[in-house]
């Protein structure tokens, strides 16, 4: 097992690592720096794009380019021109919200949730953007949306409201994209100040979650029990994704500054992009957005 700083990028709020199998490239974002980054599995050939608003997540499109969740709605990004184009703003009446973490389901829908930027009130909701660009609300009453991901068969949807202290599981209808039967998947260990941030599901169906503020990556078995923990060089780890030629490198983002003053400081490598080799676990290819 080896943990290394892949890029000492000092992201203010690094998030959303996304390995694309077709391109063999890693994408990740700086939510507060308003950047999209791309690099190789070794952290080389780094490209950066500026986006006009705070960014919560991104996914690649089958036809090229990306879909983004920006503070003011879902947008397309054209990598060649760097231009963004609004698709839909789900919450034009909620200026204190922004759209946060998102991922693509096994049928190509982009699912992303919003958050209260003060991380205070249950003002957020969870949305699904379908290939026809229609928008569907899946859940609401959420403070901070994080860690959407699916079981390998796509029939279980995992999602966390960071400040609920839980990760939830839902039954997921692959045909319609509807969720039902929300239940507690696991109670997150909040004793060290940690909270559930970004997640991914590996090829064995185990869920990896970044326990932000506690500096831990936690692997949960499908029954919700803690299988394994990796302690990280920094406390503010934000999200995880398997990638690399064999899908066996775990990429981990982190933040250089706390998003709000009430959150703690961090170690010397804060804001770095990390790579972990030798975990003995593989991820699954991440689907692209169908729209």
């Amino acid at each position: 097992m080896r943990i290394e700083v892949l890029i000492d990028v000092k992201t203010i709020l690094g998030e959303g690592p996304l390995w694309d199998v077709d391109e063999q490239r890693l994408y990740f974002i700086d939510s507060f720096g308003c950047n999209v980054f791309r690099c190789t599995a070794e952290g080389g050939e780094v490209r950066a794009w500026d986006v006009p608003e705070k960014i919560g997540s991104m996914a690649l499109r089958k036809q090229g380019g990306a879909v983004l969740s920006l503070a003011n709605g879902f947008h397309f990004l054209d990598f060649r021109t760097g231009e963004t184009q609004l698709i839909v703003d789900p919450e034009p009446d909620k200026p204190k919200n922004r759209i946060n973490d998102g991922k693509v389901d096994k049928r190509g829908r982009f699912v992303a949730g919003s958050m209260d930027t003060m991380e205070d009130g249950p003002n957020g909701a969870l949305y699904s953007l379908h290939a026809d660009l229609s928008l569907h609300k899946l859940d609401d009453g959420i403070i901070v949306s994080n860690g959407p991901c699916w079981s390998p068969d796509g029939a279980t949807f995992y999602f966390a409201d960071t400040w609920s202290g839980e990760i939830w599981a839902y039954a997921y209808d692959l045909d319609t994209g509807a969720v039902s039967n929300r239940r507690t998947f696991t109670n997150v260990d909040r004793s060290g100040g940690g909270a559930a941030d970004g997640s991914t599901v590996d090829a064995e169906g185990f869920l990896w979650n970044a326990l932000v503020y506690a500096g831990k990556l936690v692997r949960y078995a499908p029954d919700g029990s803690v299988d394994r923990i990796i302690d990280m060089p920094v406390k503010k780890v934000t999200s995880v994704m398997f990638g690399g030629p064999n899908l066996d490198i775990l990429f981990v983002t982190s933040m250089a500054k706390p998003p709000l003053p009430r959150f703690p400081g961090d170690g010397a490598q804060r804001g770095s992009l990390f790579a972990i080799h030798g975990l003995g676990v593989r991820g699954l290819p991440e689907p692209r957005f169908d729209g």
Binding site: M1, E4, R228
Partner: protein, 292 residues
């Protein structure tokens, strides 16, 4: 850039006492409760191991070859050729609840090691200096768990921790006599926000003190004035000690433990591994050998 790797997935019950020897270009370390001495090259290869007859707290190499070890009940020599331990002296006999723990060689070649209470609860212990001639002298007493002895680059300041106090202390250290006086608090872990306890320690070439925060899993670096300079989180919480080594003395080797503590087994599969931490941008100092 920072790179942390498992170089021996040893699952040591209580890995401790990493020691890089410049002359041999090899790393020595111990499993205290597994009663083992291990050595390997800079990348964790060419491993050799020796069993010792009691729990082991620390090890130092001798100038004439072989090692001096602090075992449960005293200072012993260890002959690497035949693997035999021979008792030199038991500095604090007749106390079955305590064992010898962490130790290191001062800049003049004397070996300093202290005891710990197996229960880690009562101040039953002392720290002793073994001079090359075999004389043993007490340096301090009233200690629960001796850890992290090390010296400033000029040898005139001795750092030492009673893990139970959560403080690292500094003493004036007399180069000629090896006497330690004027004990004061060098740093307090809780005061700088550290949630773990001070375990093994070393001093780098800039005179900064590195410690591990055990049960928290951090390497921590303190300036000579006691200010927290920086910290780096490690893959397991049960980190126990560190030593700088490698061809350029710029790799921090870190030991850890796999044992169950207070009924809780570690959730990290790497617990008990030997780690190499590259890219800290800091060099260590050559570790002196025992002159006896």
């Amino acid at each position: 850039m920072l790179r942390i790797e498992v170089i021996d997935d040893a699952r040591a019950e209580l890995g401790e006492g990493p020691l890089w020897d410049v002359a041999e270009q090899r790393l020595y370390w111990i499993d205290s409760l597994g009663a083992k001495v291990h050595s390997c090259n800079a990348v964790g290869g060419e491993r050799r191991s020796w069993s010792v007859p009691e729990h082991i707290g620390s090890l130092a190499l001798r100038e004439g070859g072989g090692a001096i070890v602090s075992l449960r009940d005293g200072f012993y020599t260890l002959d690497f050729g035949i693997g035999a331990c021979r008792k030199l002296v038991d500095p604090d006999p007749g106390k079955p609840r305590i064992r010898m723990n962490d130790g290191k060689v001062d800049r003049q070649g004397r070996f300093v090691a202290g005891y710990m209470d197996y229960e880690e609860s009562d101040p039953l212990c002392s720290v002793f200096r073994l001079d090359p001639g075999g004389t043993v002298t007490g340096l301090d007493t009233g200690i629960v768990c001796s850890n992290g002895p090390c010296w400033s680059p000029d040898g005139r300041t001795f750092y030492f921790a009673d893990t139970a106090t959560k403080d690292i202390w500094a003493y004036d250290y007399d180069l000629a006599t090896g006497a330690a006086t004027n004990r004061r608090t060098f740093c307090s872990f809780p005061a700088v926000g550290l949630k773990g306890l001070p375990d093994g320690a070393t001093v780098d070439a800039e005179g900064f003190i590195w410690s591990v925060s055990v049960y928290e899993g951090k390497l921590v670096r303190f300036a000579p004035d006691g200010r927290l300079d920086r910290w780096v989180g490690l893959p397991v919480e049960s980190t126990t000690s560190l030593s700088f080594g490698g061809p350029n003395l710029d790799i921090a080797y870190v030991t850890s433990m796999a044992r169950t503590v207070k009924g809780v087994a570690p959730k990290e599969r790497e617990a008990g591994a030997l780690f190499a931490v590259h890219g800290l941008g800091v060099r260590g100092l050559p570790e002196p050998r025992f002159r006896g």
